[in-house]
């Protein structure tokens, strides 16, 4: 550690609270009256949002931690910024009729919708004014998983996505009840097919194991009994509402988690919500998302209680977490591996690129092992070091090496040419991560199979302009209040770079020396 030169000194001089000891009680306290500095601002925004544009980083750096958290939580939304694709409004009957008319043609249409749904969300992640909301949507998508490759219906998947936006920072009990009667979930975990006398255990098992309690807090018998309680739920409403149908439902007496009665699915969910293990399980999910890969059971107990005492108000839990010593602890800085969404969306947001088509975002995510709406299995994305293996690391480096540069050149071109034709990805036949596992992660729009690709001459022309904008960004940063070269690095990286940074590089070189350093993969 003796080799750490000025960087750490700068870090300590910029953060008004020097080193924090981990308080096992983890009570929130008045952290500071002064400005928290750039390292803390990066930490907060990398973890809760998907990075942030430079100006925002600098604004947050002037606030103290409590103010910053407050300001951030006030950005929470319940609706997406961009309107959902038009076909989203179709009723189940309309969709059914369309399928009846021509099954094959319908299959093709549906695959097109699936692509649009993916591209729509990728775009929303990029341009949303409340990235914290989208982070929670993504977290819940990885918790209450459904896979589009199984569910098929893009309508149901988008509805579920909207559900996470609407209730993802509201009350957890509402969210859990809504998930138990969500159409994508009914299709994914087979409640749709479960009936009296022939119960299907799929949903009941995952409800306990992954969604609400965790292993060790229920028995095989609970699963079997709960499966009977979940019989007879069917997608009926014109917008995919799930209702209990008496003639398929098993009304007999069951005993689930110690409660006995003629229980139905909602009764089972309500029983789950009386268990302390449930609050802790959700606290654990938040810890893994926001703090570190190694939860502290003692603190989870406390956070679980915070959640239950607040009537399951998720915002109360989040407030507690973001004000906790654990969240700010130096020990956990850089302990989380950026997910592909973090890496791609975070880099683009930081570089203020708003016009990368969803299609290209998804192609890049695919090369790093993440496909929106298609987590690998019902446990969601494992995250952490599992994001990094030899294949995905090479995919990540390719994006950081060529992808960002190309995106900036493209963006510069768009700005100079009035931004026509941007974002219309529905026409592009190239993107279907599922069908084409080897889709090139190329993001250079010049190589893109679309009408608005750039030719070589245009790339030559716009490349220097794009490189200048990096330089401009750097100068603006340095000119900001009490910022310097060390602070510039801290606005990108969780700790000192491990490759030798050549301080004399300019333009894209200046960017490369940061984003290609292994520490940029961490947050």
């Amino acid at each position: 550690m003796s080799t750490l030169p000025s960087i750490l000194l700068i870090l300590y001089s910029l953060t008004s609270v020097g080193s924090l000891s981990l308080d096992s009680a983890d009570e929130p306290k008045d952290l500071s009256n002064g400005a928290m500095g750039i390292a803390d601002a990066r930490h907060l925004l990398d973890r809760t949002c998907f990075g942030a544009p430079q100006q925002q980083l600098q604004e947050y750096a002037q606030l103290n931690r409590a103010e910053a958290v407050n300001r951030l939580l006030n950005t929470l939304q319940t609706e997406a910024k961009t309107p959902l694709p038009k076909w989203h409004e179709m009723s189940f009957q309309e969709i059914r009729d369309l399928r009846k008319k021509d099954t094959r043609a319908f299959g093709k249409t549906q695959r097109g919708w699936q692509r649009e749904a993916r591209n729509w969300w990728a775009n929303e992640l990029l341009i949303s004014e409340s990235p914290l909301t989208e982070r929670l949507v993504l977290m819940w998508h990885g918790h209450f998983t459904s896979e589009m490759r199984t569910v098929k219906s893009p309508h149901a998947m988008l509805r579920q996505n909207q559900l996470f936006r609407e209730k993802g920072s509201g009350s957890f009990d509402d969210l859990l009840r809504a998930i138990a009667t969500d159409s994508a979930m009914a299709l994914y975990l087979d409640t749709q097919k479960s009936k009296k006398g022939k119960p299907n255990e799929n949903f009941a098992r995952e409800l306990f194991e992954l969604f609400s309690l965790g292993e060790g807090h229920y028995t095989e018998k609970d699963v079997k009994e709960a499966a009977r309680a979940f019989t007879g739920y069917r997608i009926l409403g014109s917008k995919g509402e799930v209702r209990k149908v008496a003639r398929f439902h098993d009304p007999s007496v069951k005993t689930v988690l110690g409660r006995r009665g003629r229980l139905d699915g909602i009764d089972v969910v309500n029983t789950v919500l009386t268990k302390p293990a449930c609050g802790e399980w959700i606290a654990r999910r938040f810890w893994l998302e926001f703090v570190s890969p190694t939860p502290d059971p003692k603190i989870l107990k406390k956070w679980g209680k915070v959640l239950r005492d607040a009537d399951w108000d998720l915002k109360a839990l989040l407030t507690r977490i973001l004000n906790s010593d654990s969240f700010w602890s130096e020990e956990y800085r850089g302990s989380l591996v950026k997910s592909p969404v973090d890496l791609v969306i975070g880099s683009l947001r930081r570089m203020e690129i708003q016009d990368m088509p969803g299609l290209l975002i998804n192609r890049n995510l695919l090369s790093m092992g993440q496909v929106l709406f298609d987590p690998p299995n019902v446990a969601g994305w494992p995250g952490g070091t599992a994001w990094i293996d030899s294949t995905t690391l090479l995919g990540r480096r390719k994006f950081l090496q060529d992808g960002i540069t190309s995106a900036m050149i493209y963006s510069t071109y768009q700005k100079k040419n009035g931004g026509r034709g941007v974002g219309d990805t529905s026409m592009d036949p190239g993107m279907d991560p599922e069908m084409d596992p080897k889709a090139t992660p190329e993001m250079n729009p010049a190589g893109m199979n679309s009408p608005q690709r750039l030719n070589r001459r245009e790339i030559r022309r716009y490349r220097p302009l794009a490189a200048q904008s990096v330089e401009k960004m750097y100068q603006q940063f340095i000119d900001g209040k009490s910022m310097n070269e060390g602070a510039w690095l801290l606005s990108w990286l969780p700790f000192q770079p491990v490759t030798d940074a050549d301080q004399n590089r300019t333009g894209f070189g200046r960017l490369d020396e940061i984003v290609l350093d292994p520490t940029y993969q961490l947050k």
Partner: protein, 403 residues
């Protein structure tokens, strides 16, 4: 130590040669020094290709008890009819979708190990695959894959890696520290991209995530160098592989083995076996993809003279419930048969088909501890001395020919 062993091998090359021939048992020699040498040779000369059937393969519709009436009672709707089964003898047959494997079966190179499982089976996908991949008991949590425990005491710097995972999926039985595991989709693209990865001088860094990242960088550079060199002189096997995802993975595995990339374990996977609903069609499609891929792999390795040095083994988190569910599918179950196939395999059935008359809550009772498969691979395939941390006391099955 490492250096000495290699030097000795090199110097006494001619004398060592017979021991390097696959199948010569290590413990034929008493001299502990010589034994060491030979132990490593199994790992150097032979490859294990693992095929993970993700989601829990329905064993009872893979190897079918043809004349058992209880089979039809348990599976009135999804039970296979006589014309959907290929008879293999002993009143058992295999799903007709596995037809491409009959050539290997008739050549006595395919063995079905019946009724593999463990006591107090867990029915969660995640926990049960963890049990299978770590080789643990049902109520025990181990931090490392069973192959990790087997291989980490057998380092060999000349390997490209200890394991290569082809086409996605995790390291599974190779999980844990101390092994170099590479995952790739395509060897050429892999080598090309590896060139730009920087060399980073390593400090004594305690940050786990960063440490992992730098480890992966090092592994990439080393493996890419070796693979690139070997693939360049890859022999032509002349086999056209199926264009399915699994088929393409088999093709890359064939290329690795045929060109002699030094790596003891290759892991492939094929997903979608969680057939809760509408099982008949889905399962047929999956087994067809599996069998087509494996048959092509066999052809390619026979053509390049590597078939005797290859052992392919399937595994999966569990079998499925013996009694069908109400959605023309099957729920998570317990024991299942698995396939061993390779030039040195003694064909036939091994172990006992679980008794359909003795079910526990509609589930099969396993007849063979799944770790007997691991003991077989450790001792009979790689010729290593049996160690309890790998086999957990299970005995090897006699399903590998001596030479």
């Amino acid at each position: 130590m490492e250096f000495d062993r290699r030097t000795f091998l090199h110097l006494s090359g001619g004398a060592c040669l017979p021991w390097l021939i696959p199948g010569v048992e290590a413990w034929a020699f008493d001299d502990p020094e010589k034994k060491q040498i030979d132990l490593a040779s199994g790992l150097r000369e032979r490859t294990l290709i693992l095929v993970e059937l993700q989601g829990g393969n329905d064993g009872l519709n893979t190897v079918i008890p043809l004349r058992d009436e209880r089979y039809r009672e348990l599976r009135p709707r999804i039970g296979l009819k006589a014309n959907q089964v290929i008879e293999l003898g002993s009143n058992l047959g295999m799903h007709s979708a596995l037809k491409p494997l009959t050539e290997a079966w008739e050549a006595d190179e395919a063995s079905w190990i019946l009724g593999l499982g463990y006591p107090e089976p867990n029915r969660s996908h995640f926990r049960s695959i963890e049990i299978w991949e770590t080789g643990s008991d049902s109520d025990e949590e181990l931090q490392e894959g069973w192959l990790t425990r087997m291989l980490k005491s057998q380092p060999d710097p000349e390997r490209a890696a200890e394991g290569i995972v082809i086409g996605g999926g995790d390291a599974g039985p190779l999980y844990g520290t101390g092994l170099r595991v590479i995952s790739m989709d395509d060897p050429e693209k892999f080598s090309q991209q590896a060139r730009s990865v920087p060399e980073v001088a390593r400090g004594n860094d305690a940050r786990k995530a960063l440490e992992h990242l730098l480890d992966v960088q090092d592994d990439i550079k080393k493996a890419a160098g070796i693979i690139e060199e070997k693939i360049e002189s890859s022999p032509d096997h002349g086999v056209k592989f199926p264009r399915t995802r699994f088929g393409q993975r088999c093709q890359i595995a064939a290329e690795m083995v045929a060109s002699g990339v030094p790596c003891p374990v290759i892991k492939l996977s094929i997903g979608g076996f969680d057939t809760h609903t509408n099982q008949l069609n889905r399962h047929t499609r999956l087994l067809t993809e599996l069998a087509d891929g494996l048959a092509a792999l066999r052809k390619a390795l026979v053509a390049t003279g590597k078939w005797d040095r290859t052992l392919i083994s399937t595994y999966s988190e569990f079998g499925r419930r013996a009694r069908e569910n109400g959605s023309e599918g099957t729920d998570h179950g317990t024991a299942a048969p698995h396939l061993l196939i390779g030039g040195m395999v003694k064909g036939g059935f091994s172990g006992k088909q679980p008794n359909l008359g003795r079910l526990v809550k509609d589930d099969l009772i396993h007849t063979t501890d799944y770790r007997r498969l691991y003991a077989t691979i450790e001792q009979r395939w790689f010729g290593l001395k049996g160690r309890s941390e790998v086999s957990r006391g299970a005995r090897p099955l006699e399903v590998i020919r001596k030479s």
